[in-house]
Amino acid sequence: MTALPALPVVIPLLMAALLVALGSHLHRRLMDLLALLTAASVAGICAYLTYKSSQGAPIVYWFGNWTPEKHFALGISFVIDPIGGGLATLVAFLICAALLFSWRYLEAVKSLYHALMLIFMAGMCGLCLTGDLFNLFVWFEVMTASGVTLCGYKSEEHGPLQGALNFAVTNTLGAYLTLTGIALIYAYAGSLNMAQVSQTLITHPPGGHLVQIGFLFLVAGFLVKAAVFPFHFWLADAHAVAPTPVCVLFSGVMVELGLYATARIYWSVFASSFHASEGALRTVLLTMGVLTAVVGALQCFTQRHLKRLLAFSTISHVGLMFIGFALLDSDALAGTAIYVIGHGLVKAALFICVGILLHRFQSVDEFELQGIGINSPWTGLLLFLGAIGLSGIPPFTNCVGESMIDESAKKMGLEWLSLVFIFAGAITSGAVLRIGARIWLGWGVRDEDAISRGSQKAHLGPETEGSHRRVPWSMWVPACALLLIALALGEIGPLRSATRTFSDQMLRTADYNALVLEVTPMPSAVRLDPGEFDSSIGKQVIALAIAVLLALLSLFPNVLGSARKSLGNLVDLALRPLKAIHTGRIGDFVAWFIFGIAAYGAILLLCTK
């Protein structure tokens, strides 16, 4: 254990440096192989670390051997608990899938692509495992810098550049506010280690609203990363233009890492000093979650650019995950963790399907592709499967998570939250079903006008060279594997009880502090039972039914007859403000950022008793 916990970060960094140094002399396949091996070994190490930490207490690892002196943290620590470790495993696993997918995909890539992917992975793993506030910021910046570059990788086109610009500016602004938060906390507590700060805040509670404002500033950057309303604008632009393997990572894990960091900061640093204003914080987080889920879902349904559509669906689902965290309860957090995994796998598979379409037909425009999918039926099957998965129906993994969040919402008397889940699940799933039906079944009215209007907008340059007749195995295998795992994972019996145990462990701040600062070893986790849950699948079936209905209605609006027009106007009226605020202009995004932080801050302070 003297080496292992550092390796998920160190191996990819070293390999990236090696690939850059040898870059021009290596064969493309060799680089693919090296990168893939690195990602696979990191996945293995993370899985082992997760297993290890689930057997006893979290693993605490002090870089430079700077163990706490008289219970004061001098250095930087990794604190690996099953939730953080599990997320790091998901990161490495999705990197594997993305690298495998790009085996034949970005054929024209130079050596830098692999190095960038590996550094991106190191940044994400570091973020999952670290136990230090400033270190969190450093990995956040590593992620942003490599993410922006990957997003603009095809810099020959103007689309990617616009997406990368919005990504860079919004995330950087968020990062500066995060740094301001770190400075505030350091000015008060005089340390950067999460456990140490938490301890200090307990023993010397600060006056006034320092805790609330410090928390809000500290997580601002991560809220931007998590694409919470109204900081979500950059995400759609970045997704629409990034190369597909990069989209897989953005949607599959990067966005969720924003949520993870927020949850980690809350539970490891602030939870015990938030007692008085826990209710206020719950209000704020629920507002964020519900707004994000609803806005994302509505926007999702109106898109015709497939990547943008999936990006908005990610925003909507992140909103749902935020609701899970917002309940500030162990069971809901466990549900959120499962939901993150389930959603990450399904969304990654869906992006790969879109990537296959782009590979074969050089387009990601729904209308242009109408009926064309008949030539690759298997991709269609995968896409439909993924679409059903989004609605949260069993046996998909996210269904398990959803039911756990539901259950804990019910206990708090917030039953209405399950309506939000049904709403978001149905609409996002319906949107994907609609594109599936149009592309593979050729359903829907063919609108030549729309094709010519949109084809320029949605045009993306080819990401591949050579034959486009067949779908190479390196593309469909990852998609199949991801969906199969998403299906199988939900069936594992102990998943529920294990995750409940883990999240209960994450919430025990006092034990965590004592463990990190080496006061006492952590008592081994209390094994929890799977907990009560509503095993009926009525809600999910309703969601799926609504999804199918929505898809059909949007494909064949004529069946509504005379009601069509008034209904269309109504929908239009509801969506117009949403479209109006999503201008694509960076100045507006920044104004929304300031306004959003101030508004959430106001709610937080006003609701504090």
Partner: protein, 254 residues
């Protein structure tokens, strides 16, 4: 969104933010004792524990060396990023061969300027190296010295000694140097594994201490200092070159 609306949104938010700032600052700084803990421990220990007189270097490369590793890779990534984002598209083949298109400046620099800038290059390089190697003794270190070193090729460019400039900034080896610098940091961290210590543990003998502290003191810190200096110098040369390159190409066309 119309412009005034955006301003309205911004000002509403800005007023709110100003209030948030004011409320947060009102209760800062915390109890003096708390705030000084980290500083006290490190400032008191660094000389005898690490044989380093510049406490900031000790924090940067030893106590919190892992942060600096991440920081080096942020720089590494952004240099790659600038290369990726600024690269020429392939289909306009002829334009991007730099060899055919080195600039002929309209007004050649006077001999005096040329001699003076060339003569300056030596001291600049020496100063850069001095700053790098004295990192653990006096203010400065790999990062600051590295940037100074990176400005030396620009002096050569101003002096219009293009052959030399081209050789120094030729992509391949400068990128290799950068990768060695960044990877070297991680490799130094690995040494600790042979002693069964965690990553980045300072296992190398600390060298002379007390009042005899010199450039070799500090164990792995001078080594890290060198790798950082290499990485930063090479990185900034690539970065400036990436911005300069296209300009040179365009100039050559005219």
């Amino acid at each position: 969104m119309k412009f005034p609306l955006r301003q309205l949104l911004f000002f509403a938010g800005a007023i709110g933010m100003a209030i948030l700032y004011a409320l947060a600052f009102a209760h800062l700084p915390g109890p003096e004792g708390l705030r000084s803990m980290y500083r006290d421990v490190i400032n008191l220990q660094t000389v005898e524990q690490r044989h380093i007189t510049d406490a900031i270097t000790a924090v940067n490369f030893d106590y919190r060396g892992f942060d600096t590793l991440g920081e080096e890779f942020i720089l590494f990534v952004s240099v790659m990023g600038a290369l990726v984002l600024l690269r020429e598209e392939k289909d306009q083949g002829g334009e991007k061969v730099p060899d055919a298109a080195w600039p002929a400046r309209s007004v050649p620099p006077g001999d005096a300027l040329r001699v003076w800038t060339l003569w300056m290059t030596g001291p600049v390089v020496l100063f850069g190296i001095y700053i790098v190697v004295h990192g653990q003794l006096t203010p400065g270190g790999g990062f600051q010295g590295g940037v100074i070193l990176a400005t030396a090729p620009l002096l050569i460019y101003i002096a219009e000694n293009l052959e030399v400039f081209k050789r120094i900034t030729s992509h391949e080896w400068i990128e290799i140097a950068e990768a060695i610098g960044a990877g070297g940091y991680a490799l130094i961290g690995l040494i600790a594994f042979f002693y069964s210590k965690p990553f980045l543990t300072n296992v190398i003998p600390l060298g002379p201490g007390g009042t005899n502290i010199n450039v070799l003191s500090g164990g792995m810190v001078p080594l890290i200092d060198l790798t950082v200096g290499l990485e930063v110098a090479a990185g900034f040369v690539v970065l400036l070159y990436a911005f300069l390159q296209e300009m040179l190409v365009k100039q050559g066309d005219q």
